[in-house]
Symmetry: C2
């Protein structure tokens, strides 16, 4: 796999030891995500919009109604910044200052482009939601497909930041009589609820 672009925008300056520039890490973070946040400026304001996402190859895909602001502004060439963050735990240290969280985060910079194969791309989203399901449901009809725009952003200028494990307290705090450790957090599937 080719390395990711390390621009000034993808240098991690805070806790740089947590930076991860491996493409495999980026893929894993994106593939575990149902949603991303897309930030863009529309000429008047900066916006931050959550939307479904899925990866195929070296692109991250999103979709929306043709007329939505998100789609229109991104198709107009706005510079975008995409974030995916998985919160993996709360880290309770002995010193207030050393409390933190465990997470896997990816940030991607670039411009989105239209992806012409709407049906093929949405089949990949369906495959991610529920493998095999695309063959079972009613496919999109011409009107539904025509109303939908699929966009993608290249995984070129991107960086991950990952924190795992327990607290990192200062040596002089290690003997303090307070519980320290971490509490894992996991997005868990409940029992499926059939439609009435």
């Amino acid at each position: 796999m080719r390395p990711m672009n390390t621009s000034t925008r993808t240098q991690i300056r805070r806790s740089p030891s947590l930076a991860d520039h491996e493409r495999a890490t980026l893929h894993e973070i994106l593939d575990a995500a149902w949603l991303c946040q897309v930030a863009f400026h529309d000429g008047a304001s900066t916006h931050c919009i959550p939307t479904a996402c899925w990866r195929s190859g070296e692109h991250l895909y999103i979709h929306g109604s043709n007329g939505s602001r998100l789609i229109r502004v991104l198709l107009g060439g706005a510079q975008a910044c995409v974030n995916v963050t998985h919160l993996d735990g709360l880290v309770l240290a002995r010193a207030a200052f050393n409390h933190t969280m465990n997470y896997r985060s990816a940030v991607i910079y670039g411009q989105f482009e239209r992806h012409a194969d709407t049906v093929g791309a949405l089949d990949l989203l369906m495959e991610k939601l529920a493998p095999g399901r695309a063959a079972q449901v009613r496919p999109g009809n011409a009107q539904e497909v025509a109303a939908t725009t699929v966009l993608r952003i290249a995984l070129d200028e991107a960086v991950c930041k990952v924190r795992r494990g327990g607290p990192k307290d200062d040596a002089e705090d290690l003997a303090l009589p307070v519980w320290a450790g971490h509490i894992p957090l996991t997005l868990t599937r409940g029992a499926a609820i059939a439609d009435a």
Copy 2:
């Protein structure tokens, strides 16, 4: 509680029936969140950065190192857009086009301001992480407190969007022989892991 500002930026145009302008909904979404995404433009680029957040009264708080770009740019008066999204489920419909997700999302527009009472604000974050813990851990010393900036944004121009429940299929699709329903997703706490 006073109503939230309904600017053109907080009008929901896509699936407007899911819009929620109730302040109680905003509070519930923010109080359930450990992280938010903050979007801002630094004069060169639009960024989307995840960071810890907590609510007190009618403000959402974040913190960071004094020198971080996030803190510097926001203190410089950049217009910010904050998103908090809880993903609550996957919604599997009978038609490909009607697949969606359940979620609770909040978007806040505005400018952050410095909050002078760093220690008091961080005690509230600690109380959210683990009630009562602020009294047990070593408090921040002068150097740690001086290195930290707390910012807050008013909950004035904000809007929520909430989807719950099962799929909404078209009448002519209801008899299709495919399972339809939703799969709840919940951020679940695992067993606490003590530091070695």
